[in-house]
């Protein structure tokens, strides 16, 4: 493997090359040289008029349904989707079947991932089978390589169990992740409760189902002194609550999804099941608050919340449709639209998630292993079905105009490039 990336602008605040346009030569997965002009015979050359490069991007919340629901996504197809979206590192939610709640499942994912072009980090379930009842063997999973703990798309409901879990992981310094959703309030809801749900005759999920859980979890965090990441925050109030807790010095962080910034509940008028997600698309003001959190960098990370669903779980009555949308391939083209300075956005995709989950941050210097994402932030295009590498196609972004293309990734001595017509 010998790759020459020509005239690429480096986005890496910690690198001396930050902002510079240079050539990069990679041989056998190692960055050999970074210089103004490099000539390398026999190298595969990558050029693009708007070529940019950063260290590899990391997603902290994606669902690959392997094992159990391989018809929706396998580790292989999920990795391909991630690579197409520019991600070299992905944290996987434990909601497989069986759920990732013992070291066997953690090891299965790590072994399967070894040959893939991206790094996969299993998030272990907090509770056995992610059922919210008894603590899972988190120490054992941690020792086997679980990066963090969460019941994933099943938010942990019991404050008593969450409290114990937050205390339990103190000894291993692990972080818990929560999707804020109090099910006793959201119960039978199908979309955000508000003017739109009233007009559409759909049962609503009030914002307070999210806000109350955030407030509660912050109190539990204060009591335990542990670490918590709240992901999929969709409300202005929720963002404010977390910002206040952070200011106070609590070890809390949060992420938003690109799609909660793009859509709001008003987009549900035609009962589009691809917009049925959990947490739901909120009202316009909340959508704007999520955009703001991306634009000004309040959000610690941006998470894909990539949740594949089989087509017949979406081609059906809205009420029966399953929650979620895929989000890896369209991620950058969506997240890049909200006016965040490129450096800030890339920071959220590279340094911040790794620091939060205590991974080593790869560096963009000669002599180190290449973990790179190549992208063209200024390029506008229409997102098409052909760009999807996931096994599932449940996304409302097909046909939407996006800005910011991913050219490819170089990671683990492999190179994956997107080919466009």
């Amino acid at each position: 493997m010998k790759v020459l990336i020509q005239q690429v602008r480096i986005i890496s605040p910690s690198s001396p090359f930050n902002g510079k346009v240079t050539d990069i030569l990679i041989e056998n997965g190692i960055i050999r040289q970074i210089a103004d002009h490099i000539s390398a015979e026999g190298a595969q050359v990558i050029t693009h008029p708007d070529l940019h490069c950063s260290i590899g991007w990391m997603d902290i919340f994606a669902q690959f349904d392997d094992p159990g629901f391989e018809h929706k996504e396998t580790l292989v197809s999920g990795a391909a989707a991630a690579a197409a979206g520019g991600f070299t590192d992905v944290m996987l939610v434990p909601n497989t079947n069986p759920a990732v709640s013992s070291k066997i499942q953690v090891e299965y994912i790590r072994q399967k991932a070894a040959s893939l072009p991206i790094n996969l980090y299993p998030i272990g379930a907090i509770t056995k089978n992610a059922e919210g009842k008894e603590l899972a063997e988190m120490y054992d999973m941690h020792n086997s390589g679980a990066i963090a703990f969460s019941d994933g798309i099943q938010s942990l409901q019991s404050p008593g169990i969450l409290l114990k879990a937050l205390q339990y992981v103190l000894s291993i310094g692990a972080t818990l992740l929560q999707v804020p959703n109090d099910k006793s309030i959201s119960a039978h809801g199908l979309m955000n409760e508000g003017i739109m749900s009233t007009r559409l005759g759909l049962p609503g999920i009030p914002s307070i189902a999210e806000e109350l859980m955030i407030a509660r979890d912050i109190e539990l965090l204060r009591y335990t002194g542990s670490r918590l990441h709240i992901t999929g925050v969709t409300t202005q109030k929720g963002i404010e609550l977390i910002a206040a807790a952070k200011k106070e010095g609590l070890q809390v962080s949060f992420s938003v999804t690109p799609y909660h910034a793009w859509f709001c509940d008003e987009d549900l008028v035609s009962y589009n099941t691809n917009l049925k997600v959990n947490p739901p698309l909120r009202k316009k003001e909340d959508m704007l608050a999520v955009r703001q959190a991306i634009a000004n960098g309040t959000a610690d990370c941006i998470a894909s919340h990539h949740v594949p669903q089989h087509w017949d779980d979406k081609e059906c009555e809205f009420e029966y449709a399953r929650n979620g949308m895929i989000g890896l391939e369209s991620f950058f083209g969506v997240a890049n639209r909200y006016g965040a300075p490129l450096e800030t956005l890339i920071e959220k995709l590279t340094v911040q998630p790794r620091e939060l989950f205590r991974l080593e941050v790869p560096s963009l210097t000669a002599g180190t292993a290449a973990s790179l994402t190549l992208f063209a932030p200024g390029e506008e295009y229409t997102f098409e079905k052909e760009m999807i590498r996931s096994t599932s196609f449940n996304t409302p972004f097909i046909g939407q105009k996006l800005k910011g293309r991913v050219i490819g990734i170089i990671n683990k001595q492999q190179i994956v490039l997107n080919h466009f017509s």
């Binding site: 508000g194 007009r199 559409l200 759909l202 009962y271 081609e315 809205f318």
Partner: protein, 309 residues
């Protein structure tokens, strides 16, 4: 004159003109129904499937009667007796229907938006929503409007009160849409847990928790059924307490002392939301509503068949 739509999915999508057209056409069909021969051949050679995914007596019979009186060929499909129980998806059912060359589908479904799904996949088949989840029940609102007009002379400026379980009522939502479009004033009354929190802003209606005050305000009171089958959350304590606070009783009407028209979309829970002596009393037009239902549904089907051609 034609409707502006090929499907009747909800009152939401109708213009005031459409509504007036359906109501005036219904008037003509009501006259037909008074004749010794109550049948017209308007929909001869039109095949209509009544696709009922949810139990219904009055609506299904009313539609079937309307279809037969228009000379249509009808097929009834009830979920419990069908392959739905074997796990067939709505999309598969739709494709089967399509293969059988059906012209119109009347559908009732427990999921809001199900007829919209059907319309998306069957753009050339006329879809009539006979009630979807807690969303809409457009022909009920139309027959209610027809009955109010018949009894009081019109809708404009009339004060209409909807009482009870607004939250789970597709009748309420369709009625509100229709009455708003036709210039009537709408007030809602019921326990706060059964009134959607955003209804005032979303629909421009008034809310009055005090039933007696609300009754004093209105010209017409439409008493909604407590949807016992939809009470999957704790929304009020007991039927007894409901009747004591929001049941429409003879005594309450005497205290209000106003000539209010009493309506109910049925089926009635006697002794819960309405007492028998009110339901059967001389202020009630509940049975006229049922009668008018056939004429209104004839009008809707007839006009939709007209737009489809």
């Amino acid at each position: 004159m034609q409707l502006s739509t090929k499907h009747l999915l909800g009152i939401k999508d109708l213009s005031p003109k459409d509504i007036s057209l359906i109501l005036s056409t219904a008037q003509q069909f009501k006259e037909v129904l008074q004749r010794p021969v109550k049948k017209v051949p308007s929909l001869r050679d039109v095949t209509i499937v009544n696709l009922f995914y949810e139990n219904s007596t009055r609506t299904r019979i009313s539609f079937e009667l309307a279809e037969k009186r228009l000379g249509a060929d009808t097929i009834n499909f009830a979920a419990s007796a069908s392959s739905v129980k074997k796990g067939e998806t709505l999309l598969d059912t739709v494709n089967n229907i399509l293969s059988m060359k059906v012209d119109m589908v009347v559908m009732r479904h427990s999921a809001s938006g199900a007829p919209h799904f059907l319309a998306k996949h069957l753009p050339n088949t006329g879809i009539v929503n006979a009630g979807d989840g807690i969303n809409e029940h457009p022909t009920q609102a139309l027959l209610d409007a027809f009955s109010i007009t018949e009894k009081t002379g019109g809708l404009e400026g009339k004060k209409i009160l909807l009482i009870g379980d607004i939250m789970h009522s597709r009748v309420a939502l369709s009625n509100i849409y229709l009455l708003n479009k036709m210039g009537a004033e709408v007030m809602l009354s019921g326990p706060p847990t059964l009134i959607p929190p955003y209804i005032k802003e979303a629909m421009g209606v008034q809310v009055e928790y005090d039933l007696k005050k609300a009754l004093k305000w209105c010209d017409v009171a439409n008493v909604l059924r407590i949807q016992l089958e939809r009470q999957n959350q704790v929304l009020f304590s007991s039927l007894r307490e409901y009747n004591l606070s929001y049941g429409v009783t003879k005594k309450l009407l005497q205290e209000v002392d106003k000539d209010i028209v009493i309506m109910h979309p049925g089926p009635i829970n006697r002794g819960v939301e309405i007492d028998s002596d009110v339901a059967d009393g001389n202020q009630s037009i509940i049975l006229q509503q049922v009668e008018n239902g056939v004429a209104v549904r004839m009008a809707a089907l007839y006009l939709l068949a007209g737009t489809a051609n």
